[in-house]
Subunit: 281 residues, 4 copies
Amino acid sequence: MKFKLGCQLNYSVAASSTFIFNLSVVEKKHQRILQEKLQIEPSMDYEEYVSPRMENRYLRVYVPQGDLQVSYQATVDLFYRDEDPSSISENPPDKLPLETLHYLYPSRYCESDRLMRLAQNEFGNLIPDYSRVTAICNWIYDNVTYLSGSTNQHTSAYDTATERAGVCRDFAHLGIAFCRALNIPARFVTGYAYNLEPQDFHAYFEAYLGDRWYLFDPTRLAPCNGLIRIGIGRDAADVAFATIFGDVQMNYKDVFVEAVPDQDGKTPELPDYTNRAIALI
Amino acid sequence: MKFKLGCQLNYSVAASSTFIFNLSVVEKKHQRILQEKLQIEPSMDYEEYVSPRMENRYLRVYVPQGDLQVSYQATVDLFYRDEDPSSISENPPDKLPLETLHYLYPSRYCESDRLMRLAQNEFGNLIPDYSRVTAICNWIYDNVTYLSGSTNQHTSAYDTATERAGVCRDFAHLGIAFCRALNIPARFVTGYAYNLEPQDFHAYFEAYLGDRWYLFDPTRLAPCNGLIRIGIGRDAADVAFATIFGDVQMNYKDVFVEAVPDQDGKTPELPDYTNRAIALI
Amino acid sequence: MKFKLGCQLNYSVAASSTFIFNLSVVEKKHQRILQEKLQIEPSMDYEEYVSPRMENRYLRVYVPQGDLQVSYQATVDLFYRDEDPSSISENPPDKLPLETLHYLYPSRYCESDRLMRLAQNEFGNLIPDYSRVTAICNWIYDNVTYLSGSTNQHTSAYDTATERAGVCRDFAHLGIAFCRALNIPARFVTGYAYNLEPQDFHAYFEAYLGDRWYLFDPTRLAPCNGLIRIGIGRDAADVAFATIFGDVQMNYKDVFVEAVPDQDGKTPELPDYTNRAIALI
Amino acid sequence: MKFKLGCQLNYSVAASSTFIFNLSVVEKKHQRILQEKLQIEPSMDYEEYVSPRMENRYLRVYVPQGDLQVSYQATVDLFYRDEDPSSISENPPDKLPLETLHYLYPSRYCESDRLMRLAQNEFGNLIPDYSRVTAICNWIYDNVTYLSGSTNQHTSAYDTATERAGVCRDFAHLGIAFCRALNIPARFVTGYAYNLEPQDFHAYFEAYLGDRWYLFDPTRLAPCNGLIRIGIGRDAADVAFATIFGDVQMNYKDVFVEAVPDQDGKTPELPDYTNRAIALI
């Protein structure tokens, strides 16, 4: 299924500043970039850095005083793998691929070390397979209120577990923290989300089950098979859409995602909520 | 029912220090002190201060370098009021006695302001009467593990709500915080507890329901009708059994409580767990 | 010196709600209420409760759905005692009046128990008298940025000690926490403040030194001898200008304070910053 | 300079468990492993995993019920690069190698996002070069008390900044958090430390300055040129010497480091405190 997506960001830069953007989608076997365009106005040089393990694309630009407008637009072809979740098990610690260990450890916004008992109490007796992560997402959906403005950039899973309100990044952080507390590797994902209302950058998470990473979105705000990945990290600290060093104000942000009709003009089967397990690889 | 109770505390005082003890039981209409003895060795002067609202008895003693031994022993006659809990309602905020407001506000170890949503999610739909506080105690008993040494003097209800382990003071703090988050006045109580194993100073809480304060002990470690009150406060900060200003080490602590046979030598009806609502007034 | 002061608060009440206001000034020997008027529109009954120890005046009003307007206005005559600070000492713990102990303990927003070392490191070697509390205020003024909107109702002294930004209530909480960590009783005060810009309810603190409570305002936003007291408490939890139980929105808040000319039309000596120690008693 | 070092760890394993050890030293151009031996008793298989970016060596072993003894011993030849610190500058954000960005972001135990103002207040006006990181280490040494048992595995830089006590890992975390708050990449390092008293695994940190990573140890417990590296990570979460999945108790831990005489029997120049800048590459 093809999507056209992108964003526009406008800033006022009070004094020369450095921006690191992470808003370009990644190229994966099942997420093909058909066309892509980045425009920076006024025109200036930028560097791109692709992190070796995570494949995130970071753009660094050094901006003098004045206005900055960044416009990104891409067309991607997305082939999500979907599977029967009943056949997907967790891995015991002695069987986990060692390169996933990194995602078992607590991180800035996912203090899994402090949520061990809570996770054990709530999910410890469940069957150790895909359905346990679904149970985690259901718990979050049922117990945490989605409330814009209720949290800030310092809010972590420890807070959300108790304060019970947040936005997509908080929902993802809590899902990740619960997974790690149960020895399930989990990582934070940012992306463009088809049918998200209102449109914005979205955050969700992936858990390592069976032999791959599966997508989960405890917010239920957009179907998982309509998520186009930007970046992955331990948590939001790794994949801010913009990290800014300097005295800068954002004046405007617009994000868009639309399904692209097939070449024969037929509308494709659109992303929709599903009980299938969704993976990007 | 009569109880003989007391404690012995031994300290090494490295340099002259001030102690404020709160270990004497209070005299109430239904908790009569029949006999009482406080011994400080070496013998020295002390001041007693009874806080006007809470009736806590604080002893202040200024101790030079050396050893200090404090022995307290009392016989009390205890007449708990017990009632049918089904007739006891919560008070809406416009009907609460204004002198209980003080116990609605968050305090050092009971951050009810941060537990509003959790309390609403878990208990918001329950009938607003005595049974709701029982539900809070059951929740704590079911979800928090009693584990000596798992917490310290900085641990608060916010921590315990998430970390799910603690001791009696943590259980009481969480019960208080949940009550306050639901607009039920609640206060911290310390006391001697019949049948507590191992013996120690105990902590529990009272909630204001109907027209009086009722006792609750979410630890289920001792029957509520065998609790002999020392002090009440907003939380543990107000009623430490010893507040010490100086370089002091505690070497020994012993606490004891025993039921006293009637004068005719018959053993009285001993305290036991009950479904009745227990109040001290 | 005479002041005319007051406030107006407008609310939309979505469903019947209970308000507890603490916005009336207290009557003290040196703060005389010459005239006072409270208006509630639409007209309705209210209860007043004066807390026995702290003398705060709480107004409770039960409001049906609709609009609420509360207007308060008073004229007070204020005679601050001012003293030479060089003669004012701290009290060692064995000499403190026992009724001030209450203000040595940590509270919700003043976690003095967690700031012991920081307070010792920064202020432990200073002379234990009035000048040490001045040093605390100077430290706060120098190290914490006054920044509207940087904190919220959950922010505590522990946060402010590290995050180094806040508003008047955060400045007061940190001052109190440092004092308590050094065994100086300290309490939170709310009031109307002459010359505060922009006008609002103000928060400052009092420390018990010598034989009375002295005023300190680490914000330096208004002279201490122009502060007209509303309430005192352990911290902001005790003296919110409005505690609301219900679904209510505040639409308007206006606070005013003005100096009243003498009867002979002469302008009195206006409050101003001073190095004298100021006390209300 | 050659060192012989190692450790012995004994565990009782209540039920079959998985261990991930990170206690083997890394092989670097300037840290050559001359000889190395790992013994596990009872004998059993293990996997080794070397993390691609950080080169940490993780050993995973799945252990049945019973006793486990792990003995590690190595001889390394260490050639620290030492430089004149006066020539080493910080890099502005637009010049930092993009692969160091990862170490600018906050992590579990280094919440640099919450220490921005404190870092600016204390170090913001210093010259942006090597001496600023030295100033950070001096501040930590002067303001934080090294106190065994004062912290636990949940303690973070945010806590240490305020509570002012900790052990080597807390000192390193705070140093890292301050560096990141000033836009200096910083990472956590574990190692064997010559002359550490008492011997144990040690933790320190590296900051990226000029064109490489330099070592800093704010504890001043061991000379930087006597540190033999085990692992690097964002913070202690990445490089625990043992991560254990199961019901296990540690019964014994012994760590040793000794200087090895030259082949001609002469004692080499031993590690010692220096004002030179030390780097491992």
